[in-house]
Symmetry: C2
């Protein structure tokens, strides 16, 4: 098979999984970290920065864009990418809600 049965889970569960999945590759983690570090648009230098082929980077950027975590603006012959702060904050809120579930009462083995 290889196909996730999304339909048997809640929207909330699927949303968390989708965001986690896009963060689940070191290249995308590295791209996001670089965008945060630069704290501005990045045009072009991501390929040199990360160390994967240009089509591969382009594909990872596409996935990040599809989830809304970054946005790209055409600037001459190049495209400038940066964090979409609004969507990033919303993703963060959702992930933290999941991560912060109560551990204190865990009555367990």
């Amino acid at each position: 098979m290889g196909i996730t049965k999304s339909e048997i889970f809640t929207d909330h569960q699927n949303e968390i999984a989708l965001f986690a999945k896009v963060l689940g590759h070191p290249a995308r983690v590295a791209i996001l970290q670089h965008l945060f570090k630069i704290n501005a648009c990045v045009c072009g230098d991501l390929v040199d920065e990360i160390g994967l082929a240009q089509p591969t980077i382009s594909q990872h950027l596409k996935e990040l864009k599809q989830l809304g975590l970054i946005k790209g603006t055409i600037e001459g012959t190049s495209v400038c990418y940066c964090i979409d702060t609004k969507n990033w904050s919303e993703m963060k809120r959702l992930m933290k809600l999941f991560l912060d579930q109560d551990l204190t009462n865990t009555n367990c083995c």
Copy 2:
């Protein structure tokens, strides 16, 4: 190919990606949520709870166990699973460090 080039990324980036990846499936999100909700060991009822076949659940549990997020204790004929609070907290710390990168100075398109 299909193989992630982990060697070109930092340990930190790979670690974040690994944790995010294991959270990147709704079944595993649902399993973890159930364990938090019950707030105790869960023996057996996960298959009924989630709605996937027993071998599939077993496989997802294995992945969560490998990352250390849950632990299982043999209890008679069944196995009781619960959140590994120590490792969960460490994972949470790491993920939050990544999620909480500074957005305030974003000077961007």
